[in-house]
């Protein structure tokens, strides 16, 4: 029998691509259920206070209305069940503008929406705390121990002694995830079991949190999420709407479809918080860092804390004897912030990597040379050796590929027609972890034909999970990819880690590989033979005439993984053109050079990186959610107001991967690429804008008015 060439590491097309472009891939609202009713959430129109009265008389009489559920008639739920952001209709208290205060269920979506507008609510209003600029000086120490002040050496002394330093404040605005598929759920009860069709980045997490909230056992809740129309963190932890769909379905004794409108997304499923970051850097004249201080002030919900780890990059990026990383937080009447792509790292690196660029300029040093000069040989935060670190290689190869030598050191030296052109660089990183994941592999033989089914409760956000798992299993079993069927996104399957924090690929691929290796071993044992060259599972199924065989593993990271500090690293290069008259900015070229260990599929990996780059460009130039400081409502509620980049904003994108073998991080050497793509993009763009115009913008997004 001829050997099948390995497919891992080759750029095969997405397994789910055709289903998606032909509309056959079912997203949350597409699953067929019988006789569904439609629910819409009613939202508060104040940010702080208490509901006095809800008058639903007119709404109850509106055509098609089946039920109206508010805190007055909602069932008792467990508000500490693990869903994020509160708003579970358990009390009349209002903590933020747009908090859910009720559900209207009707025969059609439009009837529900119409009726929801007939409801009048009287409030006992309180002055809301929504103006970050006014509240920032009331920020307190975080409750989260991970965010306690982290101090090394004596930064004060180093700063006071240094001739070369930068002390600046960098601001990043509130952003929203705005995945293409807004959050949506179909809830269908069967006795005391409920099935929830709902996209989830963490399938098992959605199951346990919803079950706990509904006062059920996990096995009474099934989450079905085969496809996810983007999530970016907003579908990691789940939110009240998921449980409320189940509540509504129970209440009306029918399947219920509950979808958020785009406008409702701004105050239903978290946000990236406004961060005010002060960076203080000090260096010797020859460019050796002597101090790095990263102080973040931000906001959280009134009764719950979440803080983006903005100081994370500063912990690991550069070698410095003195370092201080702090967080302060002020509770505000806004929805709970949450993980957003590159959480803490993308916002934090904007501050850190801008400051590095500012200091390099003061030192009259090339910003790449300055970074290399401060490259740490171990993780400065804990002294562990790197499992692998390709930072310098990324910078050097990137510089070559990008044509960095054409950059002018001084700003405003590169004029092309009515444009200033500039180059910028920034370094990014994101931690690499493998999380416990189980996988079940089943083989079936018909004649000579062997087919595999791989099952685990993994998630594919549109990132390529189906594809890389198909590749991994095909290689590990000795099968062509057509004979491998990957089934994921269902809490009935073996439990798996979430597709969050760049752990998906490492956790899933290693689990599937472990399962396939174990299965092959079991087949060898079963055969009772000894082999000089170990046959593949597929060969064994044939030679031993086995028709059905399966095995399951509960896969864990290698024991020694914790002895190392494991991160993906990348170097980001931007060329921008800034219109001299109008300040409009175009990113002509963007290059990311990434060291992320084994690349399972260069095509899906590239899509991940350039997707992150595009969002990073949005973060740099266009994206901002604006709160009215009087009332706490967002004035940017649609995609016409919340600007993501368009095709015309994006020039040429390129992604290069360093050929990196990491023998410590996990069996397959996979470090993950979902987050690192966005991390240092905003800083690279901002640094390029400075190089082009001489204008240092420390407040994102860099809209035309800021560079005039």
């Amino acid at each position: 029998m001829k050997d099948i060439p390995k497919v891992t590491g080759t750029p095969i097309n997405r397994i789910d691509g055709i289903a998606k472009v032909t509309g056959k891939a079912p997203y949350s609202m597409d699953h067929p259920v019988k006789n569904p009713a439609y629910a819409i959430l009613i939202k508060s129109t104040i940010a702080s206070g208490k509901i006095q009265e809800i008058d639903a008389t007119a709404a109850e009489k509106a055509p098609g209305v089946i039920a109206i559920i508010t805190h007055q008639n909602a069932p008792k739920l467990n508000v500490k069940g693990g869903l994020r952001g509160g708003a579970l209709l358990q009390s009349p208290e209002i903590e933020f503008f747009g908090q859910h205060i009720g559900i209207v269920v009707a025969e059609t979506f439009e009837q529900a929406r119409y009726a929801s507008r007939l409801i009048t609510v009287t409030y006992d209003k309180k002055e809301p705390k929504v103006d970050f600029d006014n509240l920032a000086d009331q920020a307190r120490l975080p409750k989260d121990k991970e965010k306690a002040d982290a101090r090394r050496g004596d930064v004060q002394k180093a700063l006071s002694q240094a001739t070369y330093k930068v002390e600046e404040v960098y601001e990043t605005p509130i952003e929203h995830h705005h995945p293409m598929e807004p959050h949506a759920t179909i809830a269908e009860w069967n006795g005391d079991h409920v099935t929830l069709y709902n996209s989830a980045q963490i399938v098992n997490g959605a199951q346990t949190a919803t079950a706990a909230t509904l006062n059920l056992k996990p096995e009474q809740v099934r989450i079905v999420s085969p496809y996810i129309g983007g999530g970016f963190g907003s579908k990691g932890g789940q939110w009240a709407n998921l449980a409320l769909a189940a509540v509504a379905a129970k209440y009306v004794n029918r399947p219920v479809k509950l979808a958020l409108t785009r406008q409702q997304m701004v105050n239903s499923v978290g946000l990236r918080q406004h961060n005010r970051q002060k960076i203080s850097l000090a260096a010797t004249a020859d460019g050796k860092l002597t101090a790095l201080v990263h102080e973040t002030t931000t906001h959280c919900a009134i009764n719950d804390e979440f803080i983006e780890p903005c100081g994370d990059c500063s912990k690991v990026m550069y070698d410095t004897p003195n370092s201080l990383i702090t967080y302060r937080v002020v509770p505000m009447n806004l929805i709970l912030p949450t993980y957003t792509r590159g959480p803490g790292k993308s916002t934090g690196s904007f501050a850190l990597e801008s400051a590095m660029d500012e200091l390099a300029y003061k030192l009259k040093m090339d910003p790449i040379a300055f970074r290399i000069k401060n490259e740490p040989d171990r993780d400065p935060s804990n002294g562990k050796p790197w499992s692998s670190r390709a930072m310098v290689q990324c910078l050097q190869e990137g510089a070559k590929a990008f044509g960095w030598e054409n950059r002018k050191f001084e700003p405003r030296q590169n004029q092309q027609g009515n444009y200033w052109v500039g180059y910028g660089v920034a370094a990014g990183t994101y931690p690499a972890h493998q999380r416990p994941t189980s996988a079940l592999v089943k083989l079936k033989r018909t004649g000579d034909h062997v087919a595999a089914t791989v099952e685990l409760a993994a998630a594919d956000l549109g990132t390529g999970t189906y594809t890389i798992l198909t590749q991994t299993a095909a290689d590990a079993l000795g099968l062509p990819i057509q004979n491998v069927n990957v089934i994921i996104g269902d809490s009935d399957l073996p439990p798996a880690a979430g597709a969050v924090g760049s752990v998906g690929a490492a956790s899933y691929a290693n689990a599937v590989n472990d399962a396939c290796v174990k299965l092959t071993q079991e087949l060898v044992t079963k055969s009772g033979k000894q082999f000089f060259v170990r046959p593949t599972a597929a060969q064994l199924m044939r030679s031993e005439k086995i028709t059905d065989f399966q095995t399951r593993v509960d896969s864990k990271p290698p024991e020694r993984a914790e002895d190392y500090s494991s991160h993906s690293f990348n170097a980001n290069f931007a060329e921008v053109a800034v219109n001299k008259s109008t300040g409009m900015i175009r990113v002509n070229r963007f290059l990311a050079v990434t060291g992320a260990g084994t690349i399972l599929n260069p095509k899906t990996a590239r899509s991940q990186i350039i997707g992150g780059n595009v969002w990073g460009i949005g973060m740099a130039l266009t994206e901002e959610s604006v709160v009215d400081p009087r009332w706490g409502n967002f004035v940017t509620r649609s995609l016409a107001d919340y600007h993501v980049p368009t095709n015309l904003d994006i020039g040429q994108l390129d992604a290069i991967f360093i050929n990196e073998k990491d023998e410590h991080v996990n069996t397959l050497g996979v470090k993950g690429i979902g987050e690192v793509g966005i991390v240092a993009v905003a800083a690279a763009v901002a640094n390029a804008v400075f190089n082009a115009t001489g204008k240092r913008v420390r407040e994102l997004p860099i809209t035309p008015d800021k560079v005039l």
Binding site: T582, V635, S638, H643, T646, D649, P701, D705
Partner: protein, 335 residues
């Protein structure tokens, strides 16, 4: 969305009649603005008269009358067709550029010329029914005046409303002295010069235009002009496409030798209507087409600007944009 009746009009006369009979009825053209607003409960018609299939989409030369030698755009012509029509491209490239600077390809394929002129402000307080807005609900106050007003007016606003009018097409039409042709319930035809079509907010911000209920826009007429060689539509916005203008400038010049014989400038994103920059125009006429002249003209126009809390940048941006648009116009649209 509120329940409404839907009628597809067979001809203009019956469409106008149906509308005139019901003060809460609205015409439905491309629907790209009206339907969005209905979903948000901002517009609340109880009847829609679909006019999209009326035979009013032709683009043709005007053979006689006041605008003889010019062209007529059907009120129900699609934005895409208007922008790409040979007559428009050759004789009114400014209009073509302005239309193409607006919205997206998909929206322009649906959007009609009449609907474009009547699109409503994008002020976020207008769009969210939980907010005060005198335009949406007279007497509730203006949310933007003391609120978030980066996108708002710097000219001609009143304490009742600081919204800006969003159309790009109308800015070019204003520079080009277009006339809006409407038909009323009594069968009469009215010609409204575009300068009289739009209003400043004053005490009645709920009124965007001087069109009366029951009037149908049948055509837009453009007079013959000599601007085709030297005109430019500049749109400054927060992203390269699919965003409303921070400031836009439609500039058209007729230059003989190096002397400006005629100048037309209109601005978008700065007022409750397309803002004709008459002061700037006056300064330009008879002068040499130099950067210094352009700067003087721009300064003269922008001197009257009254910015709000968050939009002071529009004064400087408007100033620079007028200069750049004029330079681009002189160079036949090239930088």
């Amino acid at each position: 969305m509120r329940a409404f009746t839907y009628t597809r009009a067979k001809d203009a006369t019956s469409a106008i009649k149906l509308l005139a009979e019901n003060p809460n009825a609205k015409f439905l053209a491309g629907g790209t603005n009206l339907l969005d607003l209905m979903k948000e409960d901002v517009e609340r018609p109880n009847a829609l008269i679909d006019i999209s299939e009326l035979d009013l989409s032709e683009i043709k030369p005007i053979i006689n009358g006041a605008n003889q030698g010019g062209i007529s755009l059907g009120g129900l012509g699609k934005n895409t067709d208007s922008a790409n029509h040979l007559l428009v491209r050759q004789h009114y490239p400014l209009l073509s550029q302005a239309i193409l600077a607006g919205a997206s390809g998909q929206i322009r394929n649906m959007a009609t010329n009449g609907g474009n002129l009547l699109q409503r402000t994008r002020c976020p307080y207008f769009y969210e029914v939980a907010m005060p807005c005198n335009k949406r609900e007279p007497g509730t106050g203006c949310g933007a005046r003391e609120g978030i007003n980066r996108m708002h007016a710097i000219f001609g606003w009143s304490e009742h409303c600081v919204a800006v009018y969003p159309s790009d097409m109308a800015v070019a039409l204003t520079a080009l002295d277009a006339t809006v042709i409407v038909r009323s319930a009594n069968g009469q035809q009215r010609s409204i010069p575009i300068a009289d079509f739009y209003r400043l907010p004053g005490n009645e911000p709920e009124k965007d235009t001087n069109l009366m209920h029951g009037e149908l826009i049948t055509a837009i007429e453009l007079p013959k002009n000599r601007f085709a060689e030297q005109s430019y539509y500049l749109k400054v916005r927060d992203r390269a496409s699919y965003a409303f203008a921070l400031v836009s400038v439609a500039a058209a010049l007729e230059i003989e030798g190096n002397t400006i014989k005629q100048a037309r400038i209109a601005m978008g994103g700065v007022a409750h209507k397309p803002w004709r920059a008459l002061k700037a125009e006056q300064i330009l006429v008879g002068k040499e087409a130099t950067e210094a002249t352009f700067k003087r003209a721009a300064n003269a126009e922008m001197a009257d600007a009254k910015p709000l809390t968050h939009n002071a940048f529009k004064v400087e941006l408007g100033n620079r944009s007028i200069v750049l648009a004029l330079q681009m116009a002189v160079n036949g649209g090239k930088a």
